[in-house]
Symmetry: C2
Subunit: 280 residues, 2 copies
């Protein structure tokens, strides 16, 4: 068998069309501000992509660039300035930061109402508490892809490989909200192949090229590839290409989950902009 | 085979002995304040038990009782008074509250530094973010029982039945911190028996008497019974008594996990009292 392609571009296009119309109907322009420290090429490229997408949707964006050796206080100062600026709807501190900086206090300093990456402890707490809030974009994108293709989550066994704060853990919360039975596997998991093979929905978010082989995938499963590694200039996911022959549904890499991450960032920016004005 | 009893009383005694000595060595008396609304007999009994334990450990405690029909504003007012009172180290709003009250805003109003139940969104966020904080007592107790009996968690398959904010979800976070592979099952899980039977460590936190039968338990597994239902005046757990013949280790009910919950509440109170003074 050959898996149906879960095309992140198509899903992202649908989100963008909906968002562009919703944003055009607003009587204000939502504003998204990026904080980037240093010139990490991947970060430069990610931020540029997000800026382009913002512009195409009618979201104003601005990038605040600090030198590679910027102090913790300097970054904190920008975050606080953006918190205080009523014209700013969303603040995104691009990760990873240089090693000498501690991201936790910076992420916790962002006004939770402007925290479009959903990494502030308050938003993490709301996510797990079953409340409304701003939640991480990549996991939101996974749910959106499955819903776009009408793939059921309720009652399905979802196996998530990787337990990062950005993907694995918030994805666990969101799949539980959708009534999936969720298993979180990771580097210490014994018999990873056996655990993965139980999955009706398999999410790989490790960053280890082609680590998920066909023998680890149940025939017909929906497989979502979040891992991303640059190997000799090419992008590789966590899913071995031969999994196309076993899975029922699979996201391509690139053109899969990554597309959805930036689309959901715009959705978060739109929601933050609305919700800040509603509560004023 | 007959399971080894994981005696919550023994583990709680060890915690209490350690805590009593640590508290006696302080140059102040930690203060724990309870807010109880109405006269729900279980709540009255729980709070009384916690008060007694506090007294035996040298913790000062006080109960603020509001009438069954107290308004949301009245409860909020007490919480804010206790937040502002520098002599108060821990605040516990006893759940469940009467139906007309919304617990979420009340729990979110407690000063996170005094939140000894670990239910404030900030503490939930810190739990999932891998940071320090005050975390829910029942899940802390589960980990403490396993450690007391030298039962490994790393690499074990932990199945948690129930996804409540009080037990199932925070237990997931704590078992992941201990490097377990964690599956969260619940009422929508298909083949619950098959999922449970994979567990090296099985946690049942549903509140459905004797729902976990021997056929659902792997021979030799460690089984932790958190469910608690009063049936004709007797207390019943989620674990069927015949599981004693299959499991390797099992918590009795009563005398198992409940004992540990109150012990960990005192540990949280002690930690809150210390940490508030360190940061001043």
């Amino acid at each position: 068998m050959t898996a149906v392609k879960l095309d992140g571009r198509d899903v992202a296009d649908a989100v963008r069309t909906r968002l562009a119309a919703a944003i055009a109907a607003l009587d204000f322009v939502p504003a998204l501000h990026f904080v980037r420290v240093g010139e990490n090429p991947a970060s430069v490229s990610y931020v540029r992509g997000k800026e382009r997408l913002a512009a195409s949707l009618g979201v104003a964006s601005q990038v605040h660039v600090l030198p590679e050796d910027a102090s913790q206080a300097a970054v904190m100062n920008i975050v606080q300035t953006l918190n205080a600026d009523d014209a700013v709807d969303g603040i995104l501190v691009q990760l990873p930061l240089p090693d000498h900086l501690n991201p936790d206090p910076l992420l916790a300093a962002i006004d939770p109402a402007k925290d479009v990456d959903g990494l502030h402890p308050i938003n993490v707490g709301r996510l797990w508490g079953g409340q409304d809030g701003l939640f991480p974009c990549t996991p939101l994108g996974l749910i959106a892809i499955l819903k776009h293709y009408d793939l059921a989550i309720e009652g399905q066994h979802v196996v998530i490989v990787g337990r990062s704060n950005l993907v694995g853990k918030p994805a666990t919360a969101l799949f539980l909200r959708e009534h999936g039975t969720v298993t979180v596997a990771h580097s210490r998991t014994r018999d990873l192949a056996g655990v993965c093979k139980q999955a009706d929905i398999l999410v790989a978010a490790v960053g280890s090229p082609a680590m998920i082989t066909p023998a680890m995938v149940k025939v017909g499963a929906a497989v979502l590839d979040v891992g991303l590694t640059r190997v000799d200039g090419a992008i590789q996911g966590d899913i071995h290409p031969d999994v196309w022959e076993v899975a029922g549904y699979l996201t391509p890499m690139p053109g899969g989950t990554g597309r959805m991450t930036t689309a959901m960032l715009m959705e978060n920016t739109y929601r933050a902009a609305l919700s800040r004005r509603e509560t004023q």
